[in-house]
Subunit: 228 residues, 2 copies
Amino acid sequence: MAFILRRGMATMASVKRANKVVCIGRNYADHIAELNSARPKQPFFFQKPTSSILLPGEGPVIRPRGVNLHYEVELAIVLGKQVKDLEADDDKGALDAIESYALSIDMTARNVQNEAKKKGLPWDISKGFDTFLPLSQTIAKSAIPDPHNIELYLTVNGEPRQDDSTELMLFRVPRILSDISKVMTLEAGDIILTGTPKGVGPVVPGDVMRAGIRVNGKELEEAKIEVA
Amino acid sequence: MAFILRRGMATMASVKRANKVVCIGRNYADHIAELNSARPKQPFFFQKPTSSILLPGEGPVIRPRGVNLHYEVELAIVLGKQVKDLEADDDKGALDAIESYALSIDMTARNVQNEAKKKGLPWDISKGFDTFLPLSQTIAKSAIPDPHNIELYLTVNGEPRQDDSTELMLFRVPRILSDISKVMTLEAGDIILTGTPKGVGPVVPGDVMRAGIRVNGKELEEAKIEVA
Ligand SMILES: [Mg+2]
Ligand SMILES: [Mg+2]
Ligand SMILES: [Mg+2]
């Protein structure tokens, strides 16, 4: 896998197995509103290349020239087994497929994405630059008893920008895994990003992003991301 | 990698290393015209998941319900080394990065793609179903002295549908690898699809696609694809 060879970290064994990273778009109503997007009738998704993964300590995030770079904090799921044609009401099947979690920032070249949307072109360039996927350490499954009841936050230079509960997800994890797995077989190690709450915005060179997860008001140390 | 575990073929070692499959869109003028698309000023690209790869003998291609399924025959490049920030005029660097070739069919859910284009949504669903990337055996680099001077063809039930020279590519291999590698680092084993010539069209259940490559008028046996 790309980033084993390139980065050679000895930990995070499961993340290193990633074949693909699949991301849900528009999964929080207030985020849809802030970008003036249409609310999807069903989950839609896109891929980020595994080459975009930035492991803890590997920063900074590259600001490509001419790019309006936005952060989007998201809960990431790391799969522990193959998932294919999962039924949308199979809550147990979905939960069983989860090996662990991570916090992620879905870095997005917003102007490039807006141009692609306007022209009906793919999103891959806007989402896929190297370093566009900062991840936290992996988070044990047991540390997140309910993925729909945690708080995600992100600050820029110490100023709060995003802070919402995952209970606001429009499509929940079983539905997400179901819809994706009816198109593409998911494999152990694959990573799923579950969408971002409101508050996305730009970062410029020198800005420091800090992000984390609270479970019942308590900070998860392993979920912390700090990246310039 | 997904399809090692799932498919367990002992050959095609290089293809099995694929982390990502990156595909160029609209790279032949007559194909752009037949889909009434705009001619791109620079190459744009999208990903197919590695889970969509269909190795020789593994058919058929799945026809998802409600999908208008189109074939697109394309020359695929298999990389033998990392490529990052390649310059567009670095013909030698591009050629050195190629380990081998394959023939590919970029199966596309055309109605899903058209809907995505209209709504400004990602192309991933339309391009990413399991089995949507039939590949030939790998083709030794030496069998294709010039990737811009071979003929690609595809027939459906024996009827010719696509048959054109790769000399018609709008953006050639060095430019393609350059543009992609300035966004995402390419790794050994990654696969690049170089776009389809004119003649794309639908296939329905029971149809048999046969595709191949001619070099100086001579058929390459290892490039043949036959898939239902
Ligand atoms: Mg996102
Ligand atoms: Mg891999
Ligand atoms: Mg194509």
